[in-house]
Amino acid sequence: MGSTIEPNRLNRRDLIKRATALGIAAVPASGLLSACAASGGGGKQETGKKTATNPFGVVGDAGLEVIIFKGGFGDDYAKRFEKLYSKEFPGSKVTHTPTQNITGLLQPRLNGGNPPDVVDDSGNAQIKLDVLQKAGQLTDLTPLLDAPSIDDPSKKVRETLQPGTVELGTIGGTFCTLQYVYTVFGLWYSGKLFRQHGWSEPKTWADFMSLSGEIKKAGIAPFAHQGKYPYYINVAIMDLAIKNGGPDFMNRVDKLDETVWDEAPAKNAIEAIHQIVSNNYLLPGTNGMTHIEAQTAWNQYKAAFVPCGAWLENEQLKATPSDFEMTFMPMPSLPGDKMPFEAIRGGANEPYIVPAKAKNAAGGMEFMRVMLSKAGAIAFAQTANSLTVVKDALGPDVQLRPGTKSTVTALKAAGSNVFNPTYLYTASSLDVDMGNASSELMAGRIQPAEWLKRVKAATVKAKKNGS
């Protein structure tokens, strides 16, 4: 079975890298990880009386243990959630544990039957959600959906969420994960740089290419990408293809129908991307750069465009000049696109779970209800500079950074033209193989035809392994 790949994983590479590097001693004994996989245990769960303001029956003085993946979003936002929770239950002792190594921390405790109460199960060392669900380790969060919203008790929490949140959090028929962060994907540029040169946002791929020619003449590389992690360029390629072929094309990719790679949308997309390589529009060295190196070069005006998800602004907070005016735009349109220019990849990610054997599972769900209040969403948007699945939480009065603001605008403009392929979550080997092919293409070592051939073979392989 495939694993769950969570897009924000890659922007935390630097942290993960340190973690893996430190783990060198553990590696020859990788088998050790499995040492206590098959033991078990149990604990008692605490519940109290359910009331209108306490819909899950949280015991007021029961402790709450929160484990947060400390990656691109940091962990300050979680501290603000914890404060909001403590306001409700002043007697409760809230424990806050930030980590980059979710698996290492969580696996033994799940198997030992004494897990924490809320976990942000994210990052490179994430425990795969489908596996947890099948093992019966996750609390069914349906009561959360049906609980009254903190902001408006006449509404259920379910009614305050972005469309798709419930579907995405449902695994094996139960809603057991809260994918909290709403991320959009596209190209990013500096509003200041563009104004300075009188450039405007290219709406079509032809415009993008001619603008790239101009940018190059101005002595700036038109395009940078995070070459060391081909995840990013894969997103750009697939978004072009999906906008060209429409939702039907995407569904067939997700179903691992290998014939899509023989068809026009895939061919159009990869040939378009290849024009960047053949016209020499890449930032020199970008193919070997980490996400931080490439994005920082972009922040230094060495490159005009970079593909990324909406975590970019928070990730580059320190490297971004104050007048940079980070701006988001959808992938430009190819001729014959089935979806409009405004269409973007967008979806919920950053999965939060309440382990089934958590002592204070009710408290865990209450914590999530706090996250899903407007106060929670604003806290997140301000400390982590990203949007959440809480619908219409950010009024015009909420102060946001320019990049985050531009994603709010883009999301509004996209309307219902938001897509989110799921092959990433269900066929991890396809993503890895496609990434290898894309790296080779960007380095000029293979041509589009070879890319299509390889990805088609990878799809066949993923289908064979996955079922």
């Binding site: 996989a37 799940l110 596996v131």
Partner: protein, 310 residues
Amino acid sequence: MRHRKYPFIVGFLIVPVALYALLVIWPYLQTFGYSLTDWSGESTVMHFVGLRNYTTLFSDTVFRQALLHNALLLVFLPVVTILLALFFAFMLNVGGRGGTGGVQGVRGAAVYKVVFFFPQVLSIAILAVLFEAVYRSDGGGLLNGILQKLGLEDPQRPIEWLNDPNLVLWCILAILVWSGVGFYLVLFSAAMQSIPKEVYEAALLDGAGRVQTFFRVTLPLLWDSVQTAWVYLAIAAMDAFALVSTLTPGVAYGGGPDYHGEVMATYLMRNFLYFGKSGYACAMGVVILFLTLILSAVALRVTRRERIEF
């Protein structure tokens, strides 16, 4: 007192042996058990699949490629590291010829010894950060920066060291050698200092040059240390996980570009944690264990020579 000997020995051994059995032997046995299942890594549910993981493994082209890379490291890492360490150790201890005919190292030997040992002090995490800057793929990198300053490289076409299929493995090898030489230099130095000076003086009186002294006197008397170094370096060559997973490109534990930097350990981890094929990864772990064991046995056996007493 003879009857009390065994309780005495057992008393000393029981704790370390018990710890070793619990923390090393038992996990290995468990790994072997898991390698016969389709365990996904995060659940207690698994099915017995017999030797299927092992048969799959031997037809897995990526694994074979990774194995080849480890084999290349296995050949070059010990040879290059030991030769360099021996050369430097010799120069630092007996290579000097200045002064009044005594046996001594080159001028400033004490300083060099400390300098050479520096890399060994750095943790592998720091090495990774350091060499990310050395091999950086644009003019900001140390190597590319120097090449561009010297006019040997077009700034528009920098060498992408770790993203070049022909260079990536050698870049990793260079780091392993750089960080390893200092330690073996100190090891060999210590061994050289225990060789009596008279032996060298005798060789000098007989008119032996530096090269002859080295091959006829130093090397045979150092053989024990060289042998130990060989085994350690061979084991290191079978691993290389930390550097490959942090420095080479690719989704989940590097190994790129397009598997040209892959080693067995990174492929194992990708399968273990990323693809959810933990049973399969355990099979790789068992194979790596046996390869390493065989290797150590062979290395010790092949390099066995008669010990020279002095």
